[in-house]
């Protein structure tokens, strides 16, 4: 059942999406009916009773019509009551998380999403979930309010810094769906995008093992560092070719002289790199804003070493 979505709505990919669409289109057609009624009536009256000629004549004394007024008060109220009840029932289904859901911890922070799986796997901006299984999202923010919004699943929930909020969905089809931030959160609010990759259960399990596996030995540090450079979103702020984005470029960084905002100087060595990863606000290079979030809980010991190795390997 290919699901292209309609003119007004994106593809309905979650089990509840079609219910939201059903209510949307019910309101849409009721509104269309009343809108056409109002515009047609007004147009007809305006053309039928337009002023002909210059002379001014009296108009009839129609001051009110009790029946008509009761009608157009009661009918809208009844329709609105129906919409309210339908909307509230849908809302409860959207927000009450089913018992057997797979729980993923979502953390929103300034300008990327990080997902922690029960098995200890962490991925940034890229949530891999099995198809046909309810997924519960336990969400919190590290700094300002963000909002977890997946149009295809029709779910949206603000992510608050001081409280957990929850959302859930069950994807119907395998595929890749956009994840956006819907609450204004600063400079890169519009590029705080992510992907929800819905895969078959086997692929999901294979991905999980491979992800858990990569935590352990096997890959040489430099290659692991290069993989982390992309998967941990370093590329959004630090380039490899010398261009300045939100942060200094990694190209030829190692061994060069760094001048900080407070004017002090220091050569870039392993300790400085390690400290800048785990505690970025400690020493901020002059000309840059202290907006880098801490990776304290996001990187394992081995991953920090891998990143340092990778940065060291980027000769000028």
């Amino acid at each position: 059942m290919n699901n292209q979505g309609t003119f007004m709505m994106p593809p309905a990919e979650s089990t509840l999406a079609h219910e939201v669409d059903a209510l949307y289109y019910f309101i849409y057609y009721v509104s269309l009916f009343f809108f056409v009624l109002i515009v047609a009536c007004s147009l007809y009256f305006v053309l039928r009773f337009r002023r002909k000629g210059k002379q001014v004549e009296r108009t009839p004394d129609i001051s009110h019509n009790t029946f008509l007024e009761i009608l157009w008060t009661v009918v809208p109220t009844v329709i609105l009551a129906i919409i309210f009840v339908w909307g509230f029932r849908g809302y409860l289904k959207l927000t009450i998380v089913p018992k057997d859901a797979l729980q993923i911890k979502v953390t929103g922070q300034r300008w990327f999403w990080s997902f922690d799986y029960p098995e200890g796997v962490n991925s940034l901006n890229d949530m891999v979930v099995p198809v046909g299984k309810p997924i519960a999202l336990l969400m919190s923010s590290q700094d300002v309010i963000h909002s977890f919004f997946v149009p295809a699943f029709r779910i949206k929930q603000d992510v608050l810094p001081n409280r957990y909020t929850q959302a859930w969905f069950e994807a119907k089809n395998v595929g890749e769906y956009d994840l956006l931030c819907a609450e204004f959160c600063g400079t890169q609010h519009s590029s705080m995008l992510g992907k929800v990759r819905v895969v078959s259960t086997q692929d999901y399990n294979r991905w999980l093992e491979e992800a858990v596996g990569s935590l352990g030995a096997g890959m040489p540090l430099k290659d692991l560092g290069e993989k982390l450079y992309t998967s941990k979103q370093c590329f959004t702020c630090h380039s490899l070719d010398g261009t300045k984005i939100q942060g200094p470029s990694f190209k030829g960084r190692f061994g060069s002289e760094a001048v900080f905002t407070d004017g002090s100087k220091r050569t870039v060595d392993e300790n400085y790199l390690r400290e800048s990863i785990l505690n970025p606000q400690a020493k901020v290079v002059a000309g840059y804003l202290p907006v880098m979030p801490t990776y304290q809980s996001l990187l394992k010991e081995r991953e920090v070493d891998a990143l340092v190795e990778f940065i060291k390997s980027l000769k000028p």
Binding site: I96, S141, D143, N162, R163, Y164, N279, Q281, P293, T294
Partner: protein, 123 residues
Amino acid sequence: MAENQQQHHVTPLWVYLGVGGALLVLTVVTVAVAKVDFGVLVGVSSLNIIVAMIIASIKAILVALFFMHLIYDAKINMAVFITALLFLGVFIGLTMFDTVRRADVYELEEGPIKPKAKIYQNQ
């Protein structure tokens, strides 16, 4: 619109002194009552706050009616004052609908995650 004698209402002296005395007595009462613990009424944190509020409301009504001449004045002024209190109640009441009922479905949505959000820890 003839220049009739403006019938400004002059409140008799004993009314002012009586109301003043009543207010002072009520202040003493409310301080004394605060020391007595009325125990906990179901649903409300403690009965003390209700008693304290009742006494304060009596004092406020006395001030409004006699000192602010609401009892002698045009009814529109009374209506304005009551509307103010009504909508103050609406403001607090509806906000409480949210803050008190946050844990309706899930306990974890109630209290703060941890006293300090991460961003401030390393500053």
